[in-house]
Amino acid sequence: MRREGRPVFLNLFQIRLPIPGVVSIIHRITGVLLFLAIPLFLYIFQRSLQGQAGYADALAILSHPLVMLITLVLVWSLLHHWLAGIRYLLLDVDVGIERMAARRSAWVVLFLAPVLTLIVLGVLWL
């Protein structure tokens, strides 16, 4: 693909990505995180279905500080991935493809994901 002599500039710290690009790369990163977490989801789900003792065990795992930190990241990942995913599905059917509209919706995703994370975890943890 790359033609000879063409300059290649891939310093990620100097490329100023537009906001939709930021949402896109985070969509990818959160996708990989959610993929890596599949065994954790499966394990806690499995335990939670194994009687009173298993359920109590699942809750105990979920209230471990390290697991709570992972949960925080994963819930945010899920919500970002979910919101950005809906944005892409809408873009697929030509909704919000104007440049300003696309920028606005990207900001909405970036902002709403952490806000919803706090609401969901606030309810589940408190």
Binding site: R28, G31, V32, L34, F35, I38, P39, L42, F45, Q46, S48, L49, Q50, G51, Q52, Y55, A56, L59, L78, W82, G85, I86, L89, D92, V120, V123, L124
Partner: protein, 115 residues
């Protein structure tokens, strides 16, 4: 153009699974948030209900397929040496297959509480 080589099938499956996974997660999160606190019997009665179990089985299949297509896209974009790319793709496929087998086992375990 028809067939598996155009990427159209993967593109479409990624979106179809996204719709289902998104809907399932929305329902699950709302149910958890409005459940009024953790309760083993409520959770297990709900999760082992045949229809919920069926929906969860579909969710598991959709999840693994969605993850496979997504990971494949990411790997093909960033890993260029052919041998390494193949090895990573194989590792991801193996990981997802193992998760699938485990997931089916969990669902069978859950269904066995019907008896």
């Amino acid at each position: 153009m028809r067939g598996g080589m155009s990427g159209m099938g993967a593109w479409l499956w990624q979106r179809l699974t996204a719709l289902y996974l998104g809907a399932y997660i929305l329902v699950l999160l709302l149910a958890l948030v409005f459940s009024g606190g953790p309760e083993a019997l409520t959770w297990q009665a709900w999760m082992t209900h045949p229809l919920v179990l069926l929906a969860t089985a579909l969710f598991l299949g959709g999840w693994l397929l969605h993850a496979w297509i997504g990971l494949r896209d990411v790997i093909v974009d960033y890993i260029h040496p052919f041998a390494i790319r193949l090895a990573v793709l194989a590792a991801v496929a193996l990981f997802l297959l193992a998760c699938g087998v485990w997931g089916i086992y969990i669902l069978i375990q859950a269904a066995s509480t019907w008896a």
